[in-house]
Amino acid sequence: MDLLLTILIDGAIYASWLFIVALGLTLIFGVLKILNIAHGSFYAIGAYAAASIVGLFTAQQYAPAFSLVALLLAAVAVAVVVGPLLERLLLRRFYGRDEVLLVLVTYALFLILEDVSKLIWGVNPYYVTEPYGLFGDVSLGSLFYVGYDLAIVAVALICGIGVWFGLNRTVLGKIVLAVIHNDEIAASMGINISRVYLGAFTFGVFLAALGGAFTAPMISVQPGISVGVIIVSFAVVIIGGLGSIGGAAIGALIVGLARSTAVHIWPAAELFSIYLVMAAVLIFRPEGLFQRVVARRI
């Protein structure tokens, strides 16, 4: 019983972290039809920006609680600077081109951003430990957790519910959904697609950077943190179905639980558990669990 509880909590924490990142990935794919390899770089840049801004706040001797604001601020700053810049200057030149070509464009972007962030922040590690102690410790059964870990679950819930509400219960959301379903018809109905693209991409970058910023307190921010994120968040959206928000949530939960089950019961399979789940889902539902079947256009 105790073991089951531990597996569930650990799985949920890991799933929350994954979900925040994968949500942005799936949103960008849904609207722009870009499978964004550079998403991992946005995550890393978010973590670096968090390090810089929290450092700035600490130097100003703000109360530690402000460091949470700093994390959010970092994600917003990255989204506002990086999102429009890349969408307007680069990605828009490729709309309508082959989806695989777009994957390559983001791969090139990933390579470039890897070195650019090294040029900006160097190779020495940054730590953002100030926010990590803010929520104290929480005792659950025989184990106790750092409150911050559980706060990540709350952040993920807020992101998920917020995006769901925004898409399904607001006019703007309906417009975005219309573009996701069929951008040509949406355009002919008078929707400014270009602006929707810009907005969706920027919001996707925000989510990646948010994931990075909120992870920064738990890790050492240094070169190479982008790579590991890419493949697991890809696994999540592939399992859930590309472009599906519910799918990203379920995918993250499945991957999170599979991983924590493996660690607790069969640790040798940890590396493999994610790929195993991915392969199993793909064999039975290659379009992912939540992908709608798209009518073929003649």
């Binding site: 105790d2 890991y14 430990t129 184990l143 106790f144 890790i219 070169p223 607790h264 640790p267 940890e270």
Partner: protein, 434 residues
């Protein structure tokens, strides 16, 4: 179609011409052109690649000025200046083989010092041997290189990973740590696998009754260790072993310390000294730490070490940890071998074969102590190692290593005629510990 073919040919010709020009432009004068390959980007840049080259850079500057203390006070290598060519090791073993060949054949380097990744070392060694060019591996830890093959032109100036884990086990015994149950957490790739089995092997002959509990293998670069920490906390293990390094190590420490892992168990890290300067007071007290040698805070006192610490600290405002030490011991080893060869051949710039002969079974002093090429037919170094325990010094506001124990090379390295794993299985026969 035909017009296109011409264009094709012209393009190919231009590419070839560019290549040839680059090749001829690179003809060396009378210097020692040394290829340096280390991680300048990716996960290993922060902890190993960049600090290692930082150490190499200041050392080469001093050597070229002839400003190093005796016996290293000759300019460059035997009076000939050193000209380094640096290449990034990031990008996989295939790329490394190609770039190594380019270093030798296109850039005409005299020899190459490099490689942190075990996979890279394994891949490049036969390539250098085939070209009959000198290759000095400075960092990687896999015992497979000289256990699986024989080389004439390949040397490794650092000990294998076996030493690190044997020393940890001996340290635990010497410090009277009781071990009923232990757990492990190592990355799921060759370095983690090797360290894991070396530690288990060493522990089972020193503590035959110790039982293994959690045996965790997180993915390389996982970054998130919450689940692993839960799994470790659930066990009753009093000792937790780990060979994590770099960003993974720091993330693991940041996530496990607040949850009380370091209070519940004695955590032993085989290669964690490089995390102490960046983490500072975030490094938990009471962790037992190795540095894959007697390096950094655990380096033995000597004028050479004081000098190296000073030039490094002056240049980078931080004390050197294991990676720069290993780079420096490699360069000094080659320097002393070259000078030995030049004494023999009357002061000419020595050939590959002359340097290789001088380096075989060679011994020299480095800031981390004496290095001897005793294993692998005189191609594999053994060296002394030190292990220490973290303790916060409130007066100087610095994390220090206390209760340092030193183990002589023959105590923790397999004898020349045995493979590491065989030696551990046999209960480490012939180990000389005093």
């Amino acid at each position: 179609m035909t017009k296109g073919k011409y264009r094709h040919a012209i393009a190919a010709g231009a590419v070839l011409a560019a290549g040839l020009m680059a090749a001829t432009a690179a003809q060396a004068q009378q210097t020692f052109k040394v290829g340096i390959v280390t991680f300048l980007s990716g996960q290993a840049a922060e902890s190993f690649g960049v600090p290692a080259w930082n150490g190499g850079k200041v050392l080469i500057e001093e050597l070229n000025k002839g400003a190093a203390p005796a016996p290293y006070n000759k300019v460059g290598f035997g009076g000939i200046k050193i000209e380094p060519v640096v290449i990034d090791e990031n990008g996989g073993a295939t790329k490394q083989v190609q770039e190594l060949r380019n270093l030798y054949q296109r850039d005409n380097v005299d020899f190459v010092i490099g490689y942190v990744g075990s996979g890279d070392c394994l891949a490049v060694a036969p390539a250098a041997e085939e070209l009959k060019r000198l290759l000095i591996l400075y960092d990687c830890g896999t015992p497979r290189i000289f256990e699986e093959a024989k080389y004439e032109y390949v040397f490794r100036t650092a000990a294998t990973g076996t030493m690190d884990n044997v020393a940890l086990a001996r340290y635990l015994k010497n410090s009277n740590v009781k071990i009923d149950k232990f757990s492990l957490i190592n990355q799921d790739y060759a370095w983690g696998h090797d360290s894991r089995s070396d530690f288990i092997g060493a522990l089972s002959s020193i503590y035959p009754d110790a039982k293994m509990e959690a045996d965790l293998l997180p993915a390389f670069g996982a970054g998130q260790y919450g689940t692993e920490v839960s799994a470790l906390m659930r066990t009753g293990s009093t000792v937790v072993h780990s060979s994590l390094w770099g960003g993974d190590l720091q993330a693991f420490i940041l996530q496990s310390a607040p949850r009380g892992l370091f209070k519940k168990a004695t955590v032993v890290f085989s290669a964690a000294d490089h995390a102490i300067p960046p983490l500072g007071d975030k490094m938990p007290e009471g962790a037992i730490i190795g540095a894959r040698g007697a390096y950094g805070l655990m380096a033995p006192k000597s004028p050479l070490n004081d000098w190296f610490q000073k030039i490094y600290q002056d240049a980078y405002k931080v004390y050197p940890v294991q990676a720069p030490y290993r780079m420096v011991q490699s360069i000094l080893g080659v320097k002393s071998a070259i000078e030995k060869a030049m004494e023999k051949n009357g002061g000419k710039k020595p050939t590959n074969e002359e340097i290789a002969a001088a380096l075989t079974n060679h011994a020299w002093d480095s800031p981390g102590g004496r290095i001897r090429m005793a294993n692998g037919n005189g191609h594999q170094a053994i060296q002394d190692i030190a292990i220490g325990k973290t303790k916060w010094n409130a007066a100087t506001k610095a994390m220090e290593l206390v209760d340092i124990q030193r183990f002589p090379a023959e105590c923790v390295n397999p004898p020349p005629n045995m493979k590491g794993q065989e030696w551990l299985k046999a209960g480490m026969p012939g180990a000389k510990c005093n």
